[in-house]
Symmetry: C2
Subunit: 114 residues, 2 copies
DNA sequence: ATCCCTATTTAGACTGGCTAAATATGAAGT
DNA sequence: ACTTCATATTTAGCCAGTCTAAATAGGGAT
């Protein structure tokens, strides 16, 4: 089965990010790792999609972000920690309902393989 | 629930068209009606998306088209009748498997509403 | 010194669904 | 006749959002 990415991700990526942040605040790269892990390799998400999506979520007030305090004993540049806002939590619930609706509708039209 | 269209349709529209043609050959407008009916109003498909999608399917050899013989007793312009090719039938089966994969993957990440 | 892994940023390309309007035609109503 | 309506197709240009690709940054390992 081909990896899921590109057009197939459209309209779903932001929900996936919100869902991954439900497990707890995280920086972008960690969100990426969570999604890759949760997708069991079936997901192909690129940073060029992830970070702009995070900015959109932040601009929409669904997540808030803060620069991590510089712990000097880890490698790499400073990380931006994102966490869900109450609005983001509500949006996630709505997104899950929409997803069910979407699956029912498209799945219903597409019909059974046999 | 909001109607399904736009981004949500991306990557799925061609599969939906193939699926609707499985019921029998049809012209574009009839495909549109079948999909609207099958979607029970939950689908918002525009001609500006449908016809280009049909052209892509034709160019890819998944459907073939022919102008309908001009029966003089019906209103409207000539219609182009599309039907599945064997290749299109095989693609439809693959698309259904991909859909299952997609639903399992995204649904799994998105998780349960409660 | 160099490489590697982590982490973020962003300009530009590309896909494909949408907007919107034009074009075509016969039936039905006035 | 004329208008209106429903059917049916075409297509130029728009636009949102994912991807490509490269730059930037910094600490640890060899």
């Amino acid at each position: 089965m081909g990896p899921i990415g590109g057009n197939a991700l459209r309209g779903h990526l932001e929900s996936l990010i919100l869902s991954s942040l439900e497990r707890g605040a995280a920086h972008g790269f960690e969100v990426w790792r969570r999604l890759e892990a949760a997708g069991s390799g079936a997901l192909r998400l690129k940073e060029g999609s992830l970070y702009p999506a995070l900015y959109r979520l932040e601009a929409a007030g669904l997540v808030r972000a803060a620069w991590e305090d510089g712990a000097t004993d880890r490698r790499g540049p400073r990380r931006r920690i994102y966490h869900l806002t109450p609005k983001g939590t509500r949006r996630l619930a709505a997104a899950r309902a929409e997803w069910q609706h979407f699956v029912t509708t498209i799945g219903g039209i597409l019909g059974a393989p046999a």
